[in-house]
């Protein structure tokens, strides 16, 4: 348990936006600049808190919950205010605080109709509470509440500030997620009633549930409970065939909404798998894994095909999320620490890259008032900087080594060559090949988009349009993302170092590798290492 300021830091990181929200609500609606300033400061302070967590995080013990706090909350159901971060949640928490700041900066002069700065920024602040909270919660009820808090602001953001088809999209988003949440809650309750912790009490506490093991639940019931969680999380990811809300939501959402949706909200689902579903119900996870893997590779190919059929740039990027999250889920389905490390990396990388792509799509729409790719073209001549950034992001998104996207994709594909013990090798190796084919399709749709939007010469209708290239607000919002894409691509160890310990502990507990009998632990090298690194006599 943490003491002093450290005991408060996660709470501060999560609830500071509430304070900002209260301030924003107190300011009259016409004082737009003040509202913006307060929001920006709030998110910056929040980011500061999350960076404090990052700085003081003990990277030698990433498996351990740090800054942990556990206070009695709802005694009657033994639900506690139990928060803490480990190597898996830390990157997500920082990413969430970080992306929110960039969204506020980008919004500065890009407010979508019907404007209403106050309401818009208030919703962003509320959203941040839910996002940050989900990543620190160590109690199922707490997790569920934060998970649900996210829903409303996004619903209104799409429904009020969205595109022409916003009502349909927002309702669809809401109903889908709610349906999933319901099943998820059902599963949480079932676990609560079925499992007892060390003191013989029913509990919602995640670490306690993990420690308790399956707690005597029969395999069949485990499968059903896992199924409920699976649907809840899979809808959020979204996995095929629960993905249809995503393209509509993304297409209609305002730019900032799309960015947050892609960068953080989708990750709540995959995070749920890693944090809750897999470790609490490992046996069921093993039975489900081939099916999760199947849906993941279907998603990879299907999402890519969906991209190829699009004429709308933003909708294309939305479908690409389905494909990319397929790689993340494939890594998770391998049930290996390699695959899950890759999945967490993929979550962050996809957040950065796809978030960036949505920013660009937003700016293209802001400039040309259309996202129809057949009407666009020659962006590189009219706005060369934006064109270059688009090309850069396309390359990052298709998994070019040296940029962040690669490290989510390649290890995930590698991990399914040899999934956890007990999973079928032929099945998973088939998935590997399909996933590898997916990388070609990814290159296809991204480069075709790049060709249509950036190459060529501007169409006649825009010949005389004066196009603003990337402006100061945009640089401020985008540059950190672009830098991070490069940094994580060149030094992937930054992420792997953080997640590895936590992931390894989880996997070792949930999916232990059978040690073959008679195989000695020593003699790790087949040959003396002397020939590998030669010390030359000088």
């Amino acid at each position: 348990m943490a003491h002093g300021f450290d005991a408060w830091i996660l709470t501060l990181t999560t609830f500071t936006p509430i304070v900002g929200l209260a301030l924003v609500l107190l300011i009259p609606k016409v004082e737009e600049e003040l509202i913006k300033l307060v929001t920006l400061l709030t998110t910056l302070v929040t980011l500061g808190f999350s960076l404090y967590v990052l700085k003081n995080f003990d990277f030698d013990h990433t498996a351990k919950l740090q800054f942990e706090v556990k206070k009695t909350w709802i005694e009657v159901i033994n639900s506690n205010y139990h928060i803490g971060v480990d190597g898996i949640s830390l990157p997500m928490l920082v990413l969430s605080a970080f992306i929110t700041v960039l969204c506020v900066i980008y919004s500065w002069n890009h407010f979508p109709e019907p404007h209403n700065v106050k309401a818009f920024l208030a919703l962003i602040l509320l959203l941040e509470v839910g996002m940050n909270g989900t990543f620190i919660a160590q109690d199922l009820i707490l997790f569920f509440i934060f998970f649900e808090i996210v829903l409303l602001p996004m619903y209104f953001m799409i429904g009020v500030w969205g595109g022409p088809n916003r009502e349909y999209a927002s309702i669809k988003f809401f109903l889908f997620t709610l349906f999933g949440s319901a099943l998820m809650l059902l599963s949480f309750l079932a676990i609560f009633f079925k499992v007892k912790n060390g003191q013989g009490l029913h509990t919602f506490d995640i670490p306690e549930l993990i420690a308790a093991g399956k707690g005597g639940i029969t395999h069949g019931v485990q499968l059903i409970i896992f199924g409920g969680m699976f649907i809840g999380f899979a809808i959020k990811v979204p996995m095929f065939p629960f993905h249809t809300w995503l393209p509509d939501a993304h297409t209609e959402a305002p730019t900032v909404g799309s960015v947050l949706l892609a960068a953080i909200l989708l990750k709540l689902g995959t995070y749920g798998f890693i944090r809750i579903a897999l470790p609490i119900l490992p046996e069921a996870a093993k039975s489900w894994a081939p099916w999760i893997g199947l849906l993941a590779v279907i998603g990879i190919i299907y999402g890519a095909l969906g991209c190829l059929a699009q004429t709308d740039m933003k909708r294309l990027i939305a479908f690409s999320s389905v494909s990319h999250m397929g790689y993340v889920m494939l890594g998770i389905a391998s049930l290996t620490s390699f695959g899950i490390n890759a999945a967490v990396f993929g979550m962050v990388a996809h957040g950065l890259i796809t978030g960036m792509l949505f920013f660009i799509a937003g700016s293209v729409q802001h400039t040309f008032h259309t996202r129809e790719m057949s009407r666009l073209g020659g962006l590189l001549t009219q706005a060369p900087k934006m064109g270059w950034i688009l090309g850069f992001c396309a390359m990052a998104s298709l998994g070019l080594p040296g940029l962040a996207g690669f490290w989510g994709e390649f290890p995930a594909i590698l991990s399914v060559f040899k999934p956890a013990d007990g999973l079928s090798l032929p099945v998973f190796r088939t998935y590997m090949v399909i996933a590898a084919i997916g990388t070609v399709l990814a290159a296809g749709y991204l480069l075709w988009m790049l060709q249509k939007v950036a190459f060529g010469t501007p169409k006649d209708e825009w010949k005389d349009t004066h196009v603003h290239d990337v402006g100061p607000q945009e640089w401020m919002a985008w540059l950190p993302l672009l830098l991070l894409i490069v940094v994580l691509g060149v030094v992937p160890g930054l992420m792997f170092k953080t997640t590895d310990g936590a992931v390894k502990q989880m996997v070792d507990k949930a999916f232990p590798t059978k040690v073959e009998k008679g195989v000695a632990e020593k003699q790790p090298e087949a040959k003396s290492p002397a020939i590998y690194v030669k010390h030359l006599g000088r």
Partner: protein, 766 residues
């Protein structure tokens, strides 16, 4: 002393780093310097070249020291049957590579190392890549003068060189993969350099997507190399940690092969990596991107075809050769996928070179054919010969490409059409003519040029290793090579000048040319027929050179920056051959380049061939036959004009070739068109109409059920009961009203509550 004997070898990581920095500098600050930015690129690649030369010198002295006087004596006296004695003798002392690596990242006990592995193979490639790149940098100062994106061009050239050098020094297969993809990115940037025109960006996309298709193999193959190591380590009784380190991969491959370990894993690994080589090195049937890549500036073509990009595939094959050797049972001497693909490519590429009117496309198809020789050589166990051919080919092919650039730049108004815009140019550009002839001679394999030695070596070793079929296949390829190159030289340099204002096209030719092609460029689409392609390419060049002040003068000789590289490359087109020749008892190349793959007692594929007089005689005969055929057919018109038009069978054959075996139709229209069109559309249709409808109808069903419940149960049934009973109705009515207020949240709560109840039931009855 500041620099010891290993300074350059130990610091080889600087060689890719310098051009990489140059890339960033040119991209960020290049605008300030205008065309002087080229000098940043030149300076960087120049320093890289000096460092590479340093590694060459130090490596050679290192090898000579290691071999010791005795061993050296043996090696130099080798020739004829002496070689067999050496084979039988104890395994020779191998010069071990110099490896420096550091951990890139660590993941679950597995370490990914990144670093340099410097051995003879790497040193040779460092030399080739930096040399060709330096010449191309210099050549481009003149050739690209006034280009619309001069700085970007130089930035991309720098990155291209850096990526290729990074690939060359790689000490792990994953690092190799990274370099490989970056090389692909750079060729995408450079092929699409003039991206305003659709055909150019199409060509760039095609190159990227085709090689990316091969990369399915690279991704899975590299993954399998990791497990090959793991398998071997497990077999040896260890815990079985996988690794990407090239040394470990090779050693494991040899070990698994020798000790009867998992052959199927090795086979699939080899097959996957072969797919990667096919994509990158333009092997049939994934070669189709290479001719289209001519859309890029000509110096880039030289770079792509000689030193970077396409040789990356062959380099990969040479680097992890034990995988192929064991996976495909190359020692067995029977047909294997690698030899078969290479052999097929030799013939198929050469066949296509016959019908091209674009000089660059002739050279492009000849590259495909020559790469086929290299892959075939690897497939028949002629490792040294393959690498030696890569080495000599780099020089004479760069020579030919830059020569073609010179012809087009100064002699043919930036056209590459041999039939319409060239002819008789030997009178106008004698220096270019001589260098081009030397390059051609080397390509054909005229005795005592570089190509003669290297091609002979491949054929000799193929015969020795009992791959007789491939030896004769190679000879047939040699006939075809001689034939199409003679045609090419004839059309370009002999006969009457047909370009510009001098021929039947008349004075209006230039104008018509430009305008006509301009429209072509803009209306063109995915359906580029070969000729169409050429035209579009013209338009690009015409546009690009619009401000070139000497663009529309008559044909004349090129100036110094263009000629100097040609002279140097012509020299190398001959001289580079004298490093390996069993005939002349020279084995230096084999000695210097021979790598160390680990435990290779039983793994000896580096021996140069045994000299038999019949081999060069056959090869020369093949060349002479080819040239005579071309002379009779094209030059003297022995069968009259246009025989292909008059004879049905020949016409059909020509059409088949002109249409590139219809592979482009298959790929572009059927596969890509199919995926992009009907398949993607169908998937999307399913998405919109099936999956979405499940939701829609579920929603409708739910709404219907709700209507039913409300109308018949609530209003008539329950309400009826309520209405019937006067007491308590007020209280319950209030609750019912609350439930019907329509607030989503409240409903949601109800749903959740209900589901919670179900959960309870589930738990209780379980």
């Amino acid at each position: 002393m500041l620099m010891n004997h290993f300074w350059f070898l130990d610091h080889a990581w600087l060689i890719p780093l310098i051009p990489a920095i140059s890339y960033a500098v040119i991209l960020l600050f290049g605008k300030r310097y205008g065309e002087r930015a080229a000098w940043i690129g030149l300076a960087s690649i120049g320093s890289a070249w000096v460092l590479a030369l340093g590694t060459v010198v130090q490596w050679i002295s290192h090898v000579n020291d290691s071999e010791g006087a005795e061993a050296r004596g043996v090696v130099q006296s080798i020739g004829g049957m002496v070689r067999n004695i050496r084979l039988a003798a104890e395994s020779k002392l191998h010069v071990e590579p110099i490896i420096h690596s550091t951990t890139w990242f660590q993941n679950n006990g597995f370490k990914l190392n990144v670093g340099i592995q410097i051995d003879g193979l790497a040193v040779m490639m460092l030399f080739v890549v930096t040399t060709i790149s330096l010449l191309v940098h210099f050549y481009s100062t003149e050739y690209l003068k006034g280009d619309r994106r001069f700085n970007h061009y130089y930035a991309a050239l720098s990155l291209f060189s850096a990526s290729m050098l990074f690939l060359v020094v790689a000490s792990s297969t994953l690092q190799l993969l990274a370099g490989w993809e970056l090389v692909g990115l750079c060729s995408f940037m450079l092929i699409g350099h003039w991206w305003e025109e659709k055909p150019n960006s199409n060509a760039a996309l095609k190159a990227f997507l085709t090689t990316r298709t091969g990369d399915i193999g690279l991704l899975t193959g590299v993954i399998m190399t990791f497990f090959v190591v793991q398998k071997y380590a497990t077999m040896a009784g260890g815990k079985g940690t996988g690794s990407f380190d090239i040394m470990k991969v090779n050693e494991a491959a040899i070990g698994l092969g020798e000790h009867g370990g998992s052959k199927s894993l090795l086979f699939w690994c080899a097959a996957a990596l072969l797919l990667a080589i096919m994509g990158k090195s333009g092997q049939f049937p994934l070669h189709t991107w290479l001719p289209d890549a001519m859309a890029g500036p000509t110096p880039v073509s030289a770079l792509i075809h000689a030193a970077t990009m396409v040789v990356a595939g062959v380099y990969l094959g040479a680097r992890v050769y034990p995988i192929f050797y064991q996976g495909f049972h190359i020692a067995g001497g029977t047909i294997n996928p690698m030899a078969a693909i290479g052999g097929a490519t030799v013939i198929i590429g050469a066949g296509l070179a016959f019908v091209q009117n674009d000089i660059k496309k002739v050279l492009a198809y000849s590259t495909i054919s020559q790469l086929g020789y290299m892959v075939m050589a690897l497939g028949v166990g002629a490792w040294t010969a393959a690498i030696f051919h890569l080495f000599t080919h780099a020089f004479f092919k760069a020579n030919l490409f830059l020569g073609a650039g010179s012809v087009s730049h100064s002699g043919a108004n930036h056209s590459f059409d041999m039939k319409h815009d060239m002819g008789g140019l030997r009178k106008y550009m004698p220096k270019t003519f001589i260098t081009f002839m030397i390059g051609t001679a080397a390509l054909i394999g005229i005795p005592f040029t570089a190509g003669f030695f290297s091609k002979d070596e491949i054929l000799a070793v193929a015969g020795e290793n009992n791959f007789t079929f491939f030896k004769y296949l190679g000879l047939v390829g040699a006939v075809m090579t001689a034939c199409y190159m003679t045609r090419c030289v004839y059309l370009t340099f002999f006969g009457e000048y047909r370009g510009g204002h001098a021929d039947a096209h008349g004075a209006g030719h230039d104008v018509g040319h430009d305008v006509g092609h301009d429209t072509h460029a803009y209306v063109s689409d995915d359906h580029a027929t070969p000729i169409h392609d050429d035209h579009a390419a013209h338009a690009a060049h015409d546009l690009h050179d619009a401000h070139d002040d000497h663009g529309h003068h008559g044909p004349h000789e090129s100036n110094f920056p263009i000629l100097a590289p040609l002279f140097f490359l012509s020299f190398m087109s001959i001289a580079s051959g004298y490093l390996l020749s069993p005939m002349l008892k020279i084995e230096k190349f084999a000695l210097w380049v021979e790598p160390h793959f680990g435990d290779d007692k039983h793994f000896n594929v580096f021996e140069p061939g045994v000299f038999k007089a019949i081999d060069p005689i056959l090869a020369v005969a093949a060349g002479v036959v080819g040239m005579l055929l071309a002379y009779a057919f094209y030059w003297k018109k022995a069968y009259g004009e246009n025989i292909t038009e008059r004879n049905g069978a020949l016409r059909a054959g020509k059409n088949f070739l002109v249409n590139k075996y219809y592979l482009d139709v298959l790929y572009t229209d059927i596969i890509v068109g199919g995926v992009k069109g009907p398949i993607a559309q169908a998937a999307y249709w399913v998405n919109q109409n099936v999956i979405d409808n499940v939701l829609r109808y579920t929603g409708k069903g739910a709404a219907g059920a709700a209507q039913f419940v409300y109308k018949y149960i609530d209003q008539k049934g329950v309400d009826g009961v309520y209405n019937g009973s006067a007491s308590g109705a007020g209280a319950l009515g209030g609750l019912a009203r609350k439930l019907q207020t329509g607030r989503v949240q409240l409903y949601a709560f109800t749903v959740l509550f209900g589901l919670g109840a179900i959960a309870l039931l589930l738990v209780i009855f379980n």
